[in-house]
């Protein structure tokens, strides 16, 4: 299989779906002439033209709201928001319209819409470094996908574009350059199915997006000392696929959730609660969580580096859990 970057995997998914279905169009800030803030749509404007690659003003509520109307009207828009932080400007559209229209009108209308949005950070300080996926995962009526690998990103994005339901597709700015195996040719992956990225017997680590790579790195280190972690990639945050997590916890009796978001009311809290309720008797130690330090992101590099779990701290936590 070919090694491709996460960026190219997303690009391929978009391009293939645009070639497959002329109802697919892309709209957002700098998606056209500029080629995408993260260069995901570079060349698309020339290939598909301004009718299908729509540069919008900097007005997120209009980007999402317009995409909702276009989706109701029979198109399959992919709306790009430049960063997940800017989705806050469109929150009314996402929560009150995107997620509600199908239910509120008793199935009379559909919103086959994908909102692509990268999380991420890098000395961008408080307003440009947030994760926020739990905000969306909280809302019935949305599907929330947050892939970690190029293979998953491509297969899940193609599935998201074909879905008749609205999908928040959360990418990660620091994953765009990450390489992984992506087969040439057509494939999709099912939304709502988690994936075992590394089998193991001692501790279950549940993660997603960039933190999955941190967890895998820690697992690699720990394996050298004989501790075998089973690393599960959620891939989809709503609906949550707990089956693999439960099966794993039955085997390892220990669960650690590693997320990039703040932990309060986050994905880890939800997963811990479910494990605690449904697999209480399987647990040998309390479910543990690791996430972002609960302060607004500072600008200074040394402070920023203190914000997230890393391979070392995750490995340390696992050692404590098996001790």
């Amino acid at each position: 299989m070919a090694q491709k970057t996460y960026r190219d995997a997303v690009r391929e998914a978009l391009r293939e779906e645009m070639l497959r279905d002329k109802c697919v169009l892309i709209m957002g800030e700098e998606v056209g002439v500029w080629g995408g803030t993260y260069a995901v749509t570079r060349g698309f404007y020339d290939e598909f033209g301004g009718r299908r690659i729509l540069d919008t003003p900097i007005a997120e509520e209009a980007i999402v709201g317009t995409a909702v109307g276009a989706a109701m009207g029979g198109l399959r828009p992919v709306a790009e928001l430049m960063t997940i932080n800017f989705s806050l400007v469109a929150m009314d559209q996402i929560v009150n319209n995107v997620a509600k229209i199908h239910a509120m009108f008793g199935s009379q209308a559909r919103v086959p819409l994908v909102i692509r949005v990268p999380a991420g950070w890098g000395q961008l300080a408080a307003t440009h470094s947030q994760s926020l996926e739990a905000w969306f995962a909280h809302v019935p009526g949305l599907l929330v996908v947050m892939p970690a690998t190029p293979y998953d990103a491509k297969g899940l994005l193609k599935a998201a574009i074909r879905s008749d339901n609205p999908v928040m597709f959360i990418e990660h700015a620091r994953l765009y350059g990450v390489k992984g195996e992506v087969p040439d040719g057509e494939y999709t992956l099912p939304i709502g199915v988690s994936d075992i990225k590394r089998p193991g017997r001692d501790v279950t680590i549940v993660s997603y997006s960039r933190m999955l790579h941190v967890a895998l790195g820690a697992a690699e280190e720990l394996a050298k000392t004989g501790i075998e972690c089973e690393v599960i990639d959620l891939r989809t945050l709503r609906p949550l696929d707990m089956a693999r997590v439960y099966a794993s916890v039955e085997k390892t009796h220990r669960a650690l959730i590693v997320e990039e978001d703040w932990m309060t009311c986050g994905m880890g809290a939800e997963i811990a609660a479910r494990i605690g309720r449904d697999r209480f008797d399987s647990l040998d130690v309390p479910v543990e969580r690791m996430g972002q330090v609960e302060v607004p992101m500072p600008y200074a590099k040394n402070l920023e580096e203190l914000m997230f779990p890393d391979e070392k701290s995750v490995a340390q936590k696992v050692r404590e859990m098996v001790a």
């Binding site: 509520e61 999402v64 109307g69 276009a70 009314d92 199908h102 008793g106 339901n165």
Partner: protein, 337 residues
């Protein structure tokens, strides 16, 4: 570009008005239907049979009826939450609208939307939206879909004057103008956003002048004159349909009832309301119809009786319809895949 519209005589100067007897009676019937429907809904609300918020359209009937008369049946419509009048004017069965208010399984949205979220997609009514201004970008998107798919439909987006102070009004119409989309914004100016007089909270209180921010035509019309509404919407829809981009109409009207049920109306005087009622759109249209020999008093009376029976039937239907099955709770949240 923005201008007022002195181009047509009002219903009071009605000689030779451009309307058939059939149309004249149809509009009278629809305005009467909306009026009577709302009065009965008000009663049912008082009896505790309708829950939540109930925003009545009484006094504003000429806007919905005039606009729907101008639009083609396949033209798309997106509205704000004072929305019963639009669905009734488009022809949705009063039974199903009343049943929706009652929260019954036979309602147009199976009792899941209620008063503020009336949709009848088969009739290209894409919903009532209850976050002020939030549906304006949606209308832009529907118009984008029509343009992209080379469909001849225009989108009519209705909202109150209060919505023109939201960001969505600006961002939605800006984008529609940039892309020259087939969209007509019909602003129903009833002078109050809940209980706040528009001029107290809007730096520019002539809504039609706000069209100049987008370089699109804006016209103020008498929204209590059903013919003036029909003519203006028709003119603007034609222009928009033939590539003229979005257009804005400010229809001046007045709501005779409070903002919602239980509004003590401390923000306006009884005299003001009584004065406004002298411009009652139904009374005015009735007078014009008779003066122009389009119908007789008896014929109009008969229509009134038929409407009365139709609304009573709607109430009976709503009252005797079943509540949604509990299993409905989990249906419609996502499209089954």
């Amino acid at each position: 570009m923005a201008s007022t519209s002195p181009s047509r005589v009002s219903v009071e100067e009605a000689a030779g008005i451009d309307v058939t007897a059939e149309e004249a009676l149809d509009w009278f019937r629809k305005m009467r239907l909306i009026r009577r429907f709302e009065e009965r809904a008000e009663e049912a609300y008082g009896q505790g049979k309708i829950g939540g918020f109930l925003h009545l359209y009484i006094g504003e009937e000429a806007v919905a009826v005039g606009a729907m008369a101008a639009l083609h049946p396949k033209d798309d419509v997106v509205t704000h939450y004072r929305d019963h009048g639009y669905v009734l004017a488009r022809g949705t069965e009063p039974r199903r609208v009343m049943a929706e208010l009652y929260g019954k399984a036979t309602g147009i949205s199976k009792g899941k939307g209620g008063s503020m979220h009336m949709a009848d997609v088969r009739r290209h009514l894409w919903g009532g939206y209850a976050i002020v201004g939030g549906h304006i970008p949606l209308a832009t998107g529907l118009a984008l879909a029509n343009q992209y798919r080379n469909l001849p439909q225009v989108v009519a987006c209705f909202f109150g004057e209060g919505a023109t102070n939201t960001g969505s009004f600006y961002s939605g119409l800006n984008l529609a103008a940039v892309w020259k989309l087939p969209l007509i914004a019909i602003v129903e100016n009833n002078r109050y956003g809940m209980g706040t007089a528009f001029e107290r909270v809007s730096a520019v209180d002539d809504v039609y002048r706000k069209a100049s921010a987008f370089g699109i035509p804006g016209e103020r019309i008498d929204g209590n004159d059903v013919l003036a509404v029909r003519d203006a919407v028709r003119r603007m829809a034609d222009r928009s349909r033939s590539g003229g981009g979005p257009q804005l109409i400010e229809a001046m009207t007045y709501r005779f009832r409070g903002h919602s049920m239980g509004d003590p109306q401390r923000y306006r005087t009884k005299e003001e309301v009584e004065e406004a009622k002298t411009h009652d759109p139904i009374v005015r249209w009735k007078r014009a119809v008779i003066e122009n020999d389009l119908a007789t008093e008896d014929e109009l009376m008969k229509i009134g009786d038929e409407v009365e029976a139709e609304v009573e039937d709607a109430v009976r239907f709503a009252e005797t319809s079943p509540a949604p099955d509990p299993n409905e709770l989990f249906i419609d949240v996502l499209v089954p895949e």
